[in-house]
Symmetry: C2
Subunit: 120 residues, 2 copies
């Protein structure tokens, strides 16, 4: 069981952010005798998953939606599955966009290098 400060350090995010995610019902830690938040390994794994989703541009609203489905129980698995499949599509699209931009930049960079070498 970890305190909020420890979890913040482990995940590389701030305690503020962890409390914000709780306010948004993305993570619900347990409380110890004195009312402090406690996170177990399941909480941490869930947060690592949330961070992965965030890194791939899933908005907080959608992460919230997914979290609420998880809380609702097993009868939401189909809906969760389609949400994840939708996001997988979005990731594919992002990769395509990035690859196109990468090619364009490569082209521009070569043009710049060529220009510079001919000038100097």
């Amino acid at each position: 069981m970890h305190t909020i400060g420890e979890v913040a350090k482990i995940l590389g995010i701030s305690t503020h952010t962890l409390r914000y995610y709780e306010k948004e019902k993305i993570i619900i830690p347990v409380r110890d005798a004195s009312g402090d938040r406690r996170y177990n390994d399941t909480h941490i794994k869930w947060l690592q998953f949330v961070i992965k989703l965030k890194e791939t541009q899933m908005p907080i609203a959608k992460i919230k939606k997914y979290a609420s489905l998880v809380l609702k129980g097993e009868h939401t698995t189909l809906e969760r599955l389609s949400l994840l499949e939708e996001h997988k599509d979005s990731i594919k699209k992002q990769i395509r966009t990035l690859k196109a931009a990468d090619e364009m930049l490569e082209y521009k960079i070569v043009a710049y290098k060529d220009f510079i070498s001919k000038r100097d």
Copy 2:
């Protein structure tokens, strides 16, 4: 030569956004006799480039920086080149992140499908 409304339609962005980019000195169109903005094909190509940079998560501040270098003239080509190379690195990183997330999602999706097929 195109009006702001035409350019907005061509690029799929709003006239508000085009004026905002101008306020940020990212694009400086010319003006016609009655003071209206006019965009030529060079302006449009530049805006398409800006949109590509945006799609790959370059912040407005950095796009602004690049635009200012272009305005300053040929003696900034080296600096522009390194800015673009830096961004190309960031794109590579983004692709790696997305691929990792994609694999993780594939794994999760398979697990969900497995669970559902065994349950039904």
